[in-house]
């Protein structure tokens, strides 16, 4: 199975990943969540062999069996959609016929088949990300690494993109995608939350929610103890196991859980 074990990566003197283990099972989507600088992209780059591991092992299929979409989408701006597809197909050693039929299938599913003659740079953000996904999927890889494929994409395109990702997993690929949208991560089979290069929580979304210590509660006005965050019009508060809970206790969703886990972790290390 693809993944990393006890992986430590040091970048310019700082520890970007501190001995983490992540498994990416085939046929499933694994979502990698975490704040900025948590180490999400570094993990993908380590799996791609772009940064060296100081310790631990990286287990991935050969380069020809990996598909990767960088956060910049990886689309060549001065090539048309069709030329992008042709170049990537050729680079992965696909025959012209295979490139054509695969591109038809993917571009149609992604809803960008009509844009074949448009230049990469003229595509909207959402279309470019979808094309980036098609390029990564082009050669039907065994391991699909997607770096924030949905960032900056409108809600409708996000739904379509997610449909593509799910379809890829159903086709047998092991999918590892980073995201900052937790509603999206909630749909993944496994969520891995990173913070400061360490795994904060991992498992299916329900397991991650169960792992939250203490209580999450909702109130209409801020209780004001520094463990409160705002969501919409309400205030959510995390209280450690022995504390007094302000407002109404709720079962946290993934977003609440991750905030609560982060707070718990911060208090623990303090």
């Amino acid at each position: 199975m693809a993944g990393v074990r006890d992986l430590t990566v040091e970048l310019g003197g700082t520890t970007a990943l501190a001995g983490i283990s992540v498994e990416v099972p085939p046929g499933e989507v694994t979502a990698l969540v975490g704040g900025d600088g948590a180490g999400k992209t570094t993990l993908l780059r380590a799996m791609l062999g772009r940064v060296a591991a100081s310790r631990g092992t990286v287990d991935v299929p050969p380069a020809a069996r990996i598909g990767y979409e960088p956060s910049t989408s990886g689309v060549w701006p001065t090539l048309t959609v069709q030329e992008n597809v042709e170049f990537v197909g050729a680079a992965y050693g696909m025959s012209d016929g295979a490139v054509r039929s695969r591109a038809d299938e993917l571009l149609t599913t992604a809803g960008i088949a009509d844009a074949r003659t448009r230049l990469g740079r003229d595509l909207s953000g959402g279309m470019r990300q979808k094309l980036g996904f098609c390029l990564a999927m082009q050669h039907s890889p065994d391991l699909l690494l997607l770096d924030e494929p949905s960032t900056g994409v409108d809600p409708v395109s996000r739904i379509e993109l997610w449909r593509l990702v799910t379809a890829a997993a159903q086709g047998g690929a092991a999918v590892l995608m980073t995201t900052t949208y937790l509603d999206e991560a909630e749909r993944a089979a496994t969520v891995v939350a990173l913070q400061d290069g360490e795994v904060l929580a991992a498992g299916d979304p329900a397991t991650v929610v169960d792992a939250v210590p203490g209580t999450v509660s909702v109130s209409d006005s801020p209780p004001g103890d520094g463990r409160t965050w705002r969501r919409g019009r309400t205030f959510h508060t995390w209280t450690p196991a022995d504390g007094e809970v302000p407002g109404r206790a709720v079962t946290p969703d993934l977003e609440d859980s991750l905030v609560a886990l982060t707070l718990a972790r911060t208090e623990e290390t303090r």
Binding site: R50, V51, S54, P62, P70, G74
Partner: protein, 353 residues
């Protein structure tokens, strides 16, 4: 407004290259224009041949007027040498003019003949003035560029300038664009070997530059009537080697630049001294020694030497082996370092030891 000024200075300080340009450019300009910008060649290298060579030498030393536009450096005085030897010396660019005396002279009445190398435009102009002052006492002939056409001297040099432009600016932009768009990373993770990525990336620019070189050479010969007297093979080999050197500079620039703007900035900084100090505009012989050596470390200088030698003087391998050899060394070093750096950018990371 004060906040704005402080912010601007802070940003400028971070942009080291702009700071370098602000400091280096004025200094460079001053030094170049001060010491290099000089069209007048005031020392001419002379060969004197024929059986009256020694008398002529004496006469030259005594009779050249003190207010002459140039002094003569008698590099070779040989009574046994013939007119053909003198022409060889001129072709090989060992001397700027040759004086044929006695038996060797080409006049009927025994007056000495002065042969002037017209491919060194400014030296030839100084020599012409000098010969004119001597009046009827000598007969003169300007070789290689009898009308002292500026275009004949400039076109071979401009071929080099165009190749430098394509090799340096266009290549570095092409490579940096890939980095800027984030697609270099994409290439790096594809199952392509770093070598094939590097070669695949550079080959189109090499071919384009070759095409341009042929086009400009043919057009220059056709439009300006510039002669092509020498070996096409020698020219092609020299130009190809020169192209590797300038492509190498372009690749090197791309490996130290993150954006197109930065690449263009650095490329221009390498272009400017090449244009001004390669001898294509200001003759190297007229430059102060302190800046002349800069000219000799620039590839364009050697290409100009080669192209003018082949096209105008019809010089061959025996006299142009030096520029070819120097260009070959420059090409190997620059191109080698550039490709290694680029390869390092896209090769998989090595595990730390």
């Amino acid at each position: 407004m004060r906040a704005m000024i402080v912010k601007e200075f802070r940003e400028l300080r971070r942009d080291r290259r702009t700071v370098a340009m602000l400091v280096a450019l004025p200094l460079l300009m001053l030094v170049i224009f001060g010491y290099a910008a000089n069209f007048t060649v005031d020392e001419l290298k002379v060969a004197v041949v024929g059986d009256q060579a020694e008398q002529a030498e004496q006469q030259i030393t005594e009779q050249i007027p003190a207010d002459a536009p140039a002094t003569l450096d008698l590099v070779d005085v040989d009574p046994d040498a013939t007119a053909a030897d003198a022409r060889d010396q001129l072709q090989d660019d060992h001397v700027d003019l040759a004086i044929l005396t006695g038996e060797a002279t080409e006049t009927d009445d025994g007056r000495p003949t002065v042969l002037i190398d017209g491919s060194n435009l400014f030296a030839a102009q100084s020599a012409s003035v000098l010969v004119a002052q001597l009046g009827d006492r000598v007969d003169s002939e300007i070789l290689y560029n009898p009308d002292l056409e500026t275009s004949w001297v400039m076109v071979p040099a401009i071929i080099g300038l165009i190749l430098t432009f394509i090799g340096t600016i266009i290549t570095s932009i092409g490579l940096v664009r890939e980095r800027e768009a984030g697609t270099l990373e994409q290439l790096a993770v594809m199952p392509l070997s770093p070598t094939s990525v590097v070669l695949g990336k550079i080959t189109p620019y090499f071919l384009l530059a070759c095409f341009d070189m042929v086009l400009v050479t043919l057009l220059g010969v056709w439009l300006f009537g510039v002669p092509f007297n020498g070996s096409v093979l020698l020219f092609a080999v020299g130009a190809a080697i020169f192209l590797f050197a300038v492509l190498g500079i372009g690749v090197l620039i791309s490996t130290v630049s993150q954006t197109t703007g930065q690449a263009v900035q650095v490329a221009l900084m390498t272009m400017l001294p090449q244009i001004l100090l390669s001898g294509m505009i200001f003759p190297l012989d007229a430059m102060a020694a302190g800046v002349r050596w800069i000219g000799y470390v620039l590839p364009l200088t050697w290409f100009v030497e080669l192209s003018q030698g082949v096209m105008l003087r019809g010089a061959g391998w025996d006299s142009l082996w030096l520029p070819v050899a120097i260009l070959a060394v420059m090409a190997t070093v620059v191109f080698g370092v550039a490709v290694l750096r680029l390869r390092r950018d896209i090769a998989p990371a090595k595990a730390a030891r």
